[in-house]
């Protein structure tokens, strides 16, 4: 049994950091890192909440987190492939240059 309050607080902080990263950063690879932080915040919350009963850690949450790590790795891989293609077209990974699609 571990106290969950510090973990909830750090989850919220990590969510804020991830969202801030998505809003402020211009580098596409850093944006993908922001997504990674968001996913990991949720994973941390899962793991913290799985150990709330004395002497018992729920395997359900652990398996969900394992699966979530895999899925989010796949998403990041697709994102990196797209970044590569963007670099081929625009010769930059700065998202401010990706402005041709509007309205």
């Amino acid at each position: 049994m571990i106290p969950y309050q510090p973990f909830i607080i750090s989850t919220i902080l990590l969510m804020a950091i991830g969202l801030g990263c998505l809003m402020v950063r211009r580098d596409m690879i850093r944006l993908l890192m922001g997504i990674e932080i968001l996913f990991n915040a949720a994973n941390l919350n899962f793991i913290a909440l799985s150990a709330q009963v004395e002497g018992f850690v729920d395997p359900l949450a652990q398996s969900v987190v394992m699966m979530a790590i895999v899925l989010d790795g796949a998403v990041i891989a697709v994102g990196l492939a797209m970044t590569l293609n963007v670099y081929r077209h625009y010769r930059t990974v700065d998202v401010r240059r990706l402005r041709r699609l509007r309205w």
Partner: protein
Amino acid sequence: MVADWPLNQALQLPAPLSILLIGALATPFIGLLGERLGVRRLREIWVALVSSSTLICVYLLEQLRARPDGILLITPWGQPPPSGSCFEVDALSIFMVWSVAFLGLLVAIYSFSYMERIGRLNEYYTLLLFMMAGMTGVAMAGDFFTLFVFWEMMSLSSYVLVAFMKERWAPIEAGFKYLLMSATAGAFLLLSMSFIYGMTGTLNFAQLSAGLRGAPPTPWLIVLFSCLIVGFGVKSAIVPLHTWLPDAHPEAPSPISAMLSGIVIETGLYGLTRVLYLIFTPDLFHIPLSALAVLTMTMANIWALLQRDIKRLLAYSSIAQMGYMLIGVASGTSYGVMGTFLHVFNHSLMKGLAFLASGSIVHEAETRDIESLRGVGRMMPISTLTLFISLLGLGGVPSTNGFVSKFILFNSAILVGAPWLAVAGVLNSAFSMAYYLRVMKALISRPEAGLRVREAPTLMVSVTVVMAVFILLLGVWPEPALKYASEASRALVEGIQNYIRAVVF
């Protein structure tokens, strides 16, 4: 405990799902085999076979369910629920899977001749089948874990399919935007899952519903509610979260646009509806969802009016249709939800047809600008006629199926005591005709000199004709669709105890 469980239940995915997964995995090998042996269209025959047998399997599953309120509990991993993950198939799941399989078959057949020019067909069909499998899994999921896995499967294949034509810059840019927003939404979905897990100690839909439904709203429930709205709302393009859609849908190849607008965003709505009705009572989410519905349809219609690009216009129109569907969800009655899901099915036909028919036109005329398409309709009469039928259906003209479902939706808003919702819906429908009529006028006005366009290939035209016939048929004789939709909505709203009892005794 595990030994008591019947052995034949183990390692058995629901039939449509396993057919789609195996079909998707085998597609590249079949394609390579066809190329090596020199058999033309072996891959296409395989894909048609897989998607049509999916449709048959959905029918068989429906027969297996036997009663209108029957529920199939499928536990592929041998662990009984609620601890093991499971598929719980009720009338609503069947209804969604039915729509997915139906549109998927038509889109696959349309792609046979549309995608010939683009190439990389092995990848294309594999991803298309995986996307269908993802949606099927989401619709049948009996717990959050299964839902999340298939949700990400659907999302991943749709990211790649949006950016499929990677030789051009626009699909890549749209795809990246889509990936960023949708992956953020996925993280919020995971966060809301962790909150639900923290509150109830389970992810099984039935058990968490038994634990949470009807609880007085605490701050954590409000946090959960907003995380769920963000998590599902990005995929279903509710207005403040819609900005990826008008970029991603037009830039995808036309059959994929039809699939994305026709059923993928509705799968988001399905997830939202299912989870909201399981966790909350309707009086909690009535006000926020009604506000979102009005915002969604009004803003999307205004933006659609400003478009010059025909596929972008249709994409904004999809957002507006999402607003109409939200009216039914917000109403909280089974009548309103029936309208929502009938509109989901009808919209999958109408918007699917609109994107496919405009895809034929864009394919031949090689421009998406409405002004440059002036007069093209006179040279492609059948595609244009089917496009007109779908646009009239989207506007809600009587004798098309769009009228029936919109009528039910607006009626449900009045019955639940929110006439302002119905007024907003009717005004928006009338407003939306403005831009549909603009497209029609451009297509049939006098062509400019020197414009040469031929009618699209026969296969593409015949798919659009079949869909147009369905739209008119279900407009004048809506009983079969109404029957299934009303069973589906009753399973969701009134049969919720039944859904819970299938797992928690």
